[in-house]
Symmetry: C2
DNA sequence: CGCCGTGTTGAAGTGCATCAAGCCATGTGG
DNA sequence: CCACATGGCTTGATGCACTTCAACACGGCG
């Protein structure tokens, strides 16, 4: 069981949605976790599991997937810095499979830790609640996406969302990021067939909007992508709707982790 | 500002997901609220509003609707007994329009009330958190519904969900309930065109599975409906996945509101 | 009365699924 | 080093579930 040093992205994410005190940062620095590694398409949890830890994603991508019958639907995807199953602190049973999209590194953090910091710090309790609400907001937004957009717009929207979420934890500065998906995964996320996913990606390539290789996505024309997707950032953050977008416009400004001096390597 | 007597369905819903103490029931009985009435298709909130109250639905149906551009997608629907915007206690800004599907009666409950009872009772705090999680679970389930089912299954699933949720607050015992939707609303919920919604309803009628009139839905063949929908109740409750379904099977058992002696009419 | 919202029906068009085949890169064992 | 398998990507042909457009019927209401 280690503590602290690898949770920076999580802390910076929290700091971006709530005013944290130095004491809060200190508490977060003591976060205990056990590191695990998973290969692409491996399941971390199965529907019905009752984990006693939360899963903090450190590297790679995870998704929640509902494999009803033989048909699968990806419900949400997660980027480094996300605690993907925060709800299990309150209700431990999981309702879907948690699957690695790529090779991943995760840290398992005991539920008790989150209960403790919630009890100790009102601001942290608030911040964790906000995380919950943002999560919910993303789900609802994805309903709108599946329900009201064409396949091209869905794919574009998904790329936009991942881009912005990576930005929020300090990655993807040059509009490039490691591709989370095989084209079949993309299809499962956007509720289209794998064949059509391929044709949709080709269309985006043809319009010179992005490059999509097996390992990397590079966005060549961000404004066009946003336009096709009908993408708005407001559902991803809560304080200042314009902050993330304006940051994405000018890729220079670099104040993502305000006052980050993590007290690293303290024992748990 | 009144208090107490009309919140029975909310209390029984809470009692079904957590063990409430007599003190908790007492606290809930003191819930202050202001009653309002809305007509069908009237908006209670618009995107961006910052209410200082939560909205407790007493009669009728409400929905959250995203009216991006001119296209509208219904994100979730609510039945009597639901607090539809519990998240505004934590983050006041609403991200979609709250719209009446039918004529409705709602009670507005100040955020401060929920903050108080959360501070006073750990079990209530827990119960409210669970409500939040069930809400989230419904959203995710609706993603699966839109993403992976045919239009017939979507409509069937929606009817199943409403049926079971009404049961949980003691309504619809005879597989009949007031219809929440015009066929256009149904279309907006299921992400299909109004014309196709009509044909889908006709198909369900043709198979003798339900009667769907402007004012009432009667389910004639519940097992068939469940089969078409691929409906499972597990995402709607948290404690005992089978309770609601078995209750729905035998419409006799009637212990929905354990120890309900609401201390009515106390001043706020 | 005439209007408007809702439900219904038919005909034509299309976005996407499905099936099927072939391509390429990577890995593996002989 | 080749033989072969495997998983991901690509492409074409065909079909269907659903959309769109257009018209009409019905009832409630000013």
């Amino acid at each position: 069981m280690q503590a602290g040093f690898a949770s920076n992205k999580f802390v910076s994410h929290l700091a971006s949605i709530a005013k944290l005190t130095p004491d809060d940062i200190e508490l977060l620095g003591r976060m205990p976790f056990t590191i695990s590694y998973y290969g692409a398409h491996e399941d971390l949890y199965q529907k019905g599991d009752r984990p006693s830890c939360c899963c903090l994603l450190l590297q790679g991508y995870l998704c929640w997937v509902d494999s009803e019958l033989d048909w699968r639907q990806i419900i949400s995807i997660h980027v480094p810095g996300d605690v993907v199953d925060f709800h299990t602190v309150i209700s431990p049973v999981v309702r879907a499979n948690l699957r690695a999209l790529t090779a991943t590194v995760v840290g398992f953090v005991p539920h008790s830790y989150f209960r403790e910091i919630s009890a100790l710090s009102p601001t942290l309790r608030q911040a964790l609640s906000l995380l919950h609400i943002i999560e919910d907001s993303r789900s609802r937004n994805w309903i709108v996406n599946l329900g009201s957009r064409s396949s091209l717009a869905r794919v574009a929207h998904l790329v936009c969302e991942i881009m912005i979420r990576l930005r929020a934890v300090g990655e993807g500065r040059d509009y490039c990021f490691p591709c989370p998906f095989t084209q079949s995964d993309l299809a499962a996320a956007c509720a289209i067939s794998p064949v059509h996913a391929n044709r949709t990606v080709q269309e985006l390539r043809r319009r010179n909007i992005l490059e999509w290789r097996t390992r990397t996505i590079s966005i060549r024309d961000w404004p066009a992508l946003v336009r096709i997707a009908g993408f708005k950032t407001d559902y991803l953050s809560l304080q200042d709707p314009e902050a993330l977008l304006s940051d994405a416009r000018s890729a220079e400004t670099t104040q993502h982790t305000p006052a980050m001096t993590p007290s690293r390597m303290s024992a748990s």
